[in-house]
């Protein structure tokens, strides 16, 4: 009897996996379809990707996504490391309040953050565009990076730092020669998470980009809500997806380091 249940459970899990992967796999597969049709396979072709590559608006959006995400990642890595460091190493009044505040950006519904940023810019009269997008992304990404880096710092054995000090390294030199190399995988993982969060972001960008600035998610949304499903969009989605997955794999590798 138990055997039957186990088999049923196994079959069920398999079905759920199919459910989770099928839409994505189908979308990716049909981006290579040598036909305008979404459901009939005519042969392997890269024509939709060629169309993409030929489209300057797509390149612009890709370029924007990349530099916004890179800048977000860089700033979040540095600020996130500094913050995580203080949270782990020092104790002071108000630390727990600060700790909880770090979690707010992660827990609050994204749309409320998006609209609050918009209002902030409206009120202060700052014109919407690339800068407002990056600023908003960083505000959100610092928390993600700090939380990840902090998790890595928790088990850190400080005796190597004491050893360095006993060998003549002051606090700053100890950090750069000993501590940083050892926490680097965690720091980079935090940076990659910040990159991904920025790269994939839609709603905050939508609210703060204004008319002239577009990132990949914005482009995808524009195409999907206006024109619906199309092979070009499949191709664009696939490209975006591959980048996200690639980043995730690197992050995974780093977390095992």
């Amino acid at each position: 009897m138990k055997r039957v249940w186990d088999k049923v459970l196994k079959g069920y899990s398999f079905a759920v996996y199919v459910f989770l992967y099928a839409p994505i796999l189908i979308m990716v597969t049909f981006s290579f379809n040598d036909s305008r049709l979404l459901a009939v396979w005519r042969g392997f072709s890269l024509r939709w990707y060629e169309t993409l590559l030929a489209d300057p608006a797509v390149w612009k959006a890709f370029y924007n996504s990349m530099w916004v995400a890179s800048l977000t990642a860089a700033v979040s890595m540095v600020l996130g490391t500094m913050t995580a460091f203080v949270m782990i190493r020092y104790s002071f009044r108000g630390k727990s309040i600060l700790d909880s505040s770090l979690y707010f950006p992660v827990v609050i519904p994204e749309i409320t953050e998006a609209l609050s940023l918009l209002l902030f810019y409206v009120f202060t009269g700052i014109p919407l565009g690339a800068v407002t997008v990056v600023v908003g992304h960083i505000a959100f990404a610092i928390s993600y990076a700090a939380i990840v880096i902090r998790a890595r710092l928790v088990g850190f054995d400080r005796s190597v730092e004491e050893a360095a000090k006993s060998l003549g390294a002051n606090e700053l030199r100890t950090f750069f020669h000993v501590t940083l190399p050892l926490i680097l995988p965690g720091v980079i993982a935090g940076g990659l998470l910040a990159f991904t969060v920025s790269y994939d972001d839609f709603i905050k960008t939508a609210f703060t980009a204004g008319p002239g600035f577009q990132t990949l998610p914005l482009r995808i949304y524009a195409m999907a809500s206006r024109g619906g499903v199309s092979p070009q969009l499949n191709a664009l989605a696939t490209v975006t997806l591959v980048v996200s997955l690639g980043l995730a794999v690197v992050r995974l590798r780093l977390s095992k380091a």
Binding site: F19, A39, S116, I142, S244
Partner: protein, 293 residues
Amino acid sequence: MNSLPQAVRRRKTRRFAAPLLLSPTVIYLAVFFFAPFAIVLLYAFGMIDILRQFSFAATFDFYLDFFDSIAPLVFARSLLLALATTAACLVLGYPMSYHIAVKSGRRKETLMLLVIIPFWVSFLLRTYALMTILDVNGIINAALLSLGLISQPLNLMYNTQAVLLGMIYNYLPFMILPLYASMEKLDKSLLEAAGSLGAGPARAFLHVTLPMTRSGVGAGSILVFVPAVGEFIIPQLLGGTESFMIGNLIWTLFLKARNLWFGSAVSIILIALVVLMVALYMKYVTKGEEMVI
């Protein structure tokens, strides 16, 4: 060889390190995260006018407008949809998590990784992927047509069912992960003990497994319910007018109608709702235990 240093240095610099390292983040978040929320509050109470002038004259008018509008209906619908999504994710996800955590032995980490991978793809892309198969020309319709089960393609999108499907599809990993985490910690010997005391598998499940995975159920539920209430992309791409949710309302108010004041009031009510739900969760579900994030 053994000369000892003569210089004596004070070690006061240590006291300044913490504030110095922390201040950039604190300032940044204060300006670009917390201050904006304060501004939302000001708009919601009508304390900033269309010319961006501030005044102390607060008003509840926009909140009262809330009740005269379609907003309460939209809120109720969103709560219901979020609830349905959470329930469905729980029912669908629980057996899956159980299978991976308890019945898979050494393969559980790989299996869990396979659950997480779709998670790494953004909601936008996953929702779009769903669109490609639900579309009139999509694979589901094509298959049904070619099998002769239907003569005309079905309108699978732009309705509430599609939205619900999309929500479940996107949020399922959010439920499976914490459930898995709580089940992984389950001590198999407890189940064996229950068995030796005469409990069959069904009763062992009911009296041992279910209560012990309560924290996972709670965490998964809140991780699905809270963001689901404020969801925008899924109802926007997959839904129709009948599935207009809070997210869509806020989008319309801010980006289409430019009604910053009413929009702010709606947002404040949403935030209050979220805070309330989280507070209730912390009080009744976790009862002070650590949250499984």
